[in-house]
Structures are given as C-alpha cells and as structure tokens.
Symmetry: C2
Subunit: 421 residues, 2 copies
C-alpha cells in the first residue's frame, strides 16, 4: 500500500501558511491502517500538477490532493485533473443545488464564478462537500485512487472523515487498527519510559507503543494491528489496563482528553468550584480553563495581579510579605491563594507567581523560577519550579504544571470521598 498526500498552493511553498492538513491526513490514515509514504507540496500551476500526476498515478495506490480548488483559484486543479484523466466539464445538478442552498442560507447572490463550481469532470465521482461550495472528486486510473479535496481545513477534514474514509474502507484491503491513549501529566517522557520499560518490552509484536510529549503532558498511544476487530480491541484494552495500573495516579485520562477537560470533569463530579490568582502567566491559565465549553459551571473567575499593587489591593497580599519575601515566593503565593478564595468563595484555587523573563531574574530567583500553589477544602500545596530561559515556554509550563497540581489534588479528594470522576 503506497499512499501519497499532495498539497497544492503557493502559500504553502512561500511559507505564508503552515500546512496542517497533511498532518491531519497522516494521523487519520494511520488510524485506518494506512502509513503515508510521502507528502509533496507543489504550486498551483498546471504543469506542476500534471508533473505530480505523472510521477505517482499507476505507482501509488492512493493519492490525496488538497487545495487548489475554489472560485478564486480559477479552479486550475479541477481543469487540470479533468484534462489529465481525459474528461469534459459538465454541470452537476446536485452540486449546483448545494451551492444554491448555501448562498440562499447566507442571503447572498450567486455569481457565474460561484455557479461554475458546479462544473465537474464527467470522468470523476463527485465527493460531496458538506461545508463549502467546492466539490471533492475521485478519479481512478491504473490502480490508483486519486482524490481531490478542498484546502480549507474544516471543509477538508469533514469531507475526509465522512466521505473519503468510507470509500477507502470499502475499496482497499485495510488491516483492523485499534488505537487507545493514556494521558499522563506532570512527569517526563524518560521517567515514563523507565517506569514501563518491561511492559513495553513484553508487548506482542502486533501492538506498538508511542510517546507523544507536549509541555506538562505525555500522551501514550497503544496501536494494535490485526484482522479480528473484537479480539484486537480486547487485547489492546488489556494492555491499556496493565499500563494504567503501573502508572497509577500519573494517568489523568484516556483517549486524548485534555488536562483542562479532565479538571472540569473532576470538579463537576465533586460539585465544586474554582478560581485563579495569576501573575506571571498573565491570564493564560484562565484562557486554558475556559477553552472547555461549559466551564462556566465550575470556573468563577480570576484575578491577574501582574503588578504588586493589584496583589495588595485586590488580593490582600501584605506589603510586609512582598517587601520581605518578594512577589516570587511561597509566602506571596500563599496570600494570593487566601485572597482569591476570600473574594470568590470557591472551593479550589490556583495561584502562580514567577519570573517569566527575559528580565527580572536574580541570583536567588533566576528567570524560570515559578511558585505554584493550589488550595482545596482540606489542604494547600505550594511548590517551587525552575523552568527555562524562554518567556513563552515558561508561561506554558507554569500553566500546565499548575493544572497538573490541581488535577492531583482533585484526584486525592475524589478518592477520599469515594467518588469516581
């Protein structure tokens, strides 16, 4: 099985746009058992599209084009594909009806350019576009399935998931693939690898493990390949169970749940509320917490006390504490916690104060020094971290480790009360 993704567009070559479509397709193809062989990005010129077809048609089993469609591109991709596969453009009634409906819904008037999007090669199968006006197309030649999809990410993603995958599953002999994820927080990849080395070693050859690290979170992916779907699911689930038992409290969730979503799930199970007192993170923890729809059920709000005057006046941190211990200290974070709990009356609170950099570092507290405190109904925990030199990564790590500390406390409280989240 040889699969190729070809992205079309000058904006991909001159770097105006970072291509996320091909990474999406790589992941989605992997999920149905197709390993991408290579990816090519080309300009939206006719000769370049022809050249790529000559290079791959008859040699690859699957060719996925994205981009180069749409009214402003003069439909160069569609015309070129039509010509290459020896067809003629004809008006497709169902595509036209879809375009007319889309325009009516938005109360807009169609131009000729818009209705010309209903012209499709008579040698292709139309692949409907549920979220846009440029139809997808499927051509077949010399053993190659050639799909052309729009480049707009959300149009392409839904077309691929809803239309293309079912065709691939019907037309190609694909293995059964089962993916499961374990989500861990607050520990490093190498620590994790040491902890589960023997389990990884003992995996049967048809089940593989991948480490997918990001700041504060490492995702473990177990991938099983086989032919019997039910049996494989059971085998992978059994392995997930083994790894989860070994890693215990380091696992906060499964199957790509974010740390923010897992915190929301826990707070709702406990029926408790949260507030924040941020400083060096500037609002980023609140931004992360509120990225979850429905977070207003448990998140009350926050004070970003960037300047010491706000720490004093709003949160009630004492001048003496700031003078004696400094804004970046356990004592200040303790008083930030007391202050935000007093103001908002929530059950839990996070407070963070640190030196994000590039300025503000001292010998005792260099750039990257951050105090993170979490207060709950029964206990308060404040830790000192030393992250790195870069402002943006210091903010990101501070935020994710604060969420990790909160998650750990919520887990302890859930366990104490015998509640499962």
């Amino acid at each position: 099985m040889r699969a190729i993704v070809i992205t079309i567009g000058d904006e991909l070559l001159n770097g105006t746009t970072v291509d996320t479509n091909s990474a999406f397709l790589g992941r989605e193809l992997g999920n149905i058992g197709i390993q991408l062989f290579e990816k090519l990005a080309i300009s939206d010129k006719k000769e370049h599209i022809i050249d790529s077809l000559e290079r791959y048609v008859g040699k690859a089993d699957l060719i996925l084009f994205t981009g180069g469609l749409g009214p402003t591109k003069d439909d160069i991709t569609k015309q070129t594909l039509c010509e290459y596969f020896g067809g003629t453009l004809v008006r497709d009634a169902s595509v036209l009806a879809g375009i007319e409906k889309a325009f009516a819904r938005r109360g807009l008037t169609m131009t000729d350019r818009n209705s010309d999007q209903a012209l499709v090669p008579d040698v292709c199968t139309v692949v409907p576009n549920a979220y846009g006006t440029a139809p997808g197309m499927l051509f077949e030649q010399n053993g190659s399935l050639v799909f052309s999809m729009p480049g707009v990410p959300f149009e392409m993603r839904s077309m691929f998931a809803e239309q293309v995958i079912p065709i691939l599953q019907q037309r190609l002999e694909l293995p059964v693939i089962v993916n499961r994820h374990l989500m861990t927080s607050g520990i490093g990849e190498s620590w994790l690898a040491d902890r589960i080395a023997d389990l990884e070693e003992a995996l049967p050859p048809h089940i593989t493990l991948a480490y997918l690290p990001s700041p504060g979170v490492v995702k473990l992916r177990l991938t099983g390949r086989g032919t019997d779907s039910r049996k494989l699911q059971e085998e992978v689930d059994a392995q997930v169970q083994l790894f989860a038992e070994r890693l215990g409290k380091h696992v906060y969730g499964y199957d790509e749940e974010t740390l923010m979503a897992s915190i929301g799930r826990r707070l709702m199970a406990l029926n408790k509320t949260l507030s924040l007192a941020e400083s060096c993170t500037g609002g980023n923890i609140g931004k992360l917490i509120t990225s979850i729809p429905g977070s207003s059920a448990y998140f009350m709000g926050s004070v970003v006390s960037y300047d010491n005057s706000v720490k004093e006046k709003v949160l009630g941190v004492s001048r003496a504490t700031l003078d004696t211990h400094g804004a970046v200290s356990e004592e200040t974070v303790q008083e930030m916690l007391s202050g935000i709990l007093r103001i908002t009356g929530t059950h839990y609170a996070i407070a963070v104060s640190g030196v994000a950099g590039p300025g503000g570092g001292t010998e005792d507290k260099p750039v990257g020094t951050v105090y993170i405190g979490v207060a709950g109904p029964s206990v308060t925990e404040i830790k000192r971290y030393t992250f790195g030199q870069k402002r943006d990564t210091n903010i990101e790590y501070s935020s994710m480790y604060a969420l990790h500390q909160l998650r750990s406390m919520l887990d302890a409280d859930l366990e104490k009360q015998g509640i499962s989240a």
Copy 2:
C-alpha cells in the same frame, strides 16, 4: 533557480508533528529572492533518502534537507548522504570540540553515541551547529548545492540564518529583495483591497503586494525585486509611504510588529497604564498583552469575572444591571469598566462580555454576540459585535478586536497630545 526542501522523519508522515520548518524555510528563501519549487516529506529510511537524492540531484540548484540527524536516529541521513556522495566518515576535530564543550557546560558525560556525532563525510563541508550537537553538511554535485540540517526547529533556524544564507548569497546569483510590511487592524481584507485597488494597480512590475490576513489583523507585504539595493529600498519605501497615507489610521505599525507590541509602545510613549475586565475571553486578552517582554511596565492586571458573582463582588456591577440588561450588555460592560478602573487606578481599561458558545445564546443575543468596551482618560467607547459560531474563534476575534479598539483610542490620545509613538 529550482529550490527544494526535503523534510525527513516518520513523525511528519504519521502526523505526530506538524512541520513548521518548511514554512520557515519558504519564508526565509523568499526573503533572499529564492522561490521554493516544491517540498517533499519522506520517512527516515535509507532507500527513501537515496530515492529523493536521485530524483533531485543535478535537477535542482538547491536542495535543503532537514531532520533525520541526531544520536537517536542512528544518523541514518548522514551515513546515507556520505554513501551517496561517495565519501567516508571521518572524525572532525572542531565538531568534536563543540560537542565536548556542550556536554561540559551541562555537566553531562558523553557516550560513544554522542562522540560519533563528530563523524562527518570527508566529501562535505561542515556547517557548524551553534545550538546542538548534530553538525550540518554541504555537498555539491552536478550543479546542485545539497545542505543537510538538523530537524530541531531552533537549531535549524539559527543554522540556516547564520550559516546557510551567507553561503547561498555568495554562491548563487540572487536578486536583491526588499520586503516591507504595513500592519493594519480592525478592517477586513476585501475592504482593504477596495481601498487600495488603484495603488496596487499602479505598482511597477518589480514591486508586488500580498495580503496576509489573521483574526483582527491584516498584514500587507510589499516585495521589491531588483539589482540595486539602495535604489530598490527607496522605491519600496516610497510605495509604503503611499499605501500608509491612503490607509491612514488603519495602519498601526510596520514590519511585523504585533498589535500587542504596538499597544505597549503607545502606552509607554503616553506613560500610561492598562487594566482589563474580561469575561467570555477568560484571560486571553491578558495572556496576549503579557506575551510582550516588559509589559509589566504598563499592564497592572485584570479581573476575569466569568461568573456574575465576580462581576458583582469584585467589579461592583450592580445586581439591577445584570437582572435588567443581562451580563452580555452595554450597561454591564460600562460597569465592568468603572469597576476595574476604580480597583486598579489605571488610565486605560478594556472590558469584554459576550456569548462565546456553544451554549448560552438567545434570540436577541445569539452565540457570537460580544460587547467590547474601552475606557481612557477622556472617553469611553463600547461596541457590539457579532462574530461566529465557534467558541475558539469567538474568543480570538473578541480579544483582537478589543486590542484594536484600545489601539485606536491610544492613537487618538497620542495625536491630541502631539506625541509620536
């Protein structure tokens, strides 16, 4: 001139990593007058690397490999390149010294695997890696310059900027390229295009205009190509002047300055301070403001009043206002502004309240309805916006339009006081 970027790594094909290196290279090449012809992503297998070399060596003038280097990859790329170009691996004293220095600095012990990174093909020119242990390499064959660079973005970026570009400028006949940017906020791309259509039309053929839109901000890039650097600079500057005059107050800055940085520059010129009262943006405006190093000079802090109780208790929004007009209203935003100014004593404040979605919409105030208010020393402006259906883009647009409104007020105040920022 035919230039190709080849990225090596299974993580790029299976979608674990989104490739940002090739977009960086596309932009940087464009800046020195080289248009990227195509980009290819391949696996880190020997036969795949050989196949790509056979495809391009002698046909492309410039081939840039990234990735596939480093001790954990078994240096497959280095060995393959060495073999393809007919060389032998030899220990390079300067590379070894660099690796030893890097290990000593971090207090780590070198393994054989690390010192083997000093093995380089005797048929290449070593390209030093200032930020890592895997050296870059330059090979030449049949008119092709072939560079191999590490895949770690910050190592690759500095190697390319500091080492590779000077070689390209020396070895290739490159045109002189001058890029200048105009940064605009608060207006759409099509409005902009209409407004400057005649100026764009009148551009000389060697100067081109590109629109680079992102939420709330449209960057205009003028690119001049020529041979005489000074003359071209003057010509492009003159065009920048024409476009800037036409667009007037819509231009907030030049040459890729962010809206956040431009606000900091203005507040510092006015010697004034800022605070925020956020609601639906959850902390994101504070996060954006504090992404700028040194923002503590003018940003005092914020209250994220996600729940109405925080709007009442902390910001002092009256219960009557919330009951009568709702949290998403001009009246509430007005009281949020008064509250945050009273608490923090800053000269300027932003307040935002809206329905980010997916829940919470009503017939009068559907999802995407957002009130954005800005208060300054002399005036308060509150506007109602209707953004879209998606939670994350509503938050992003609300934040950027809030910054745009603040920027406009700062410009008016700077003008009134005859200060140039």
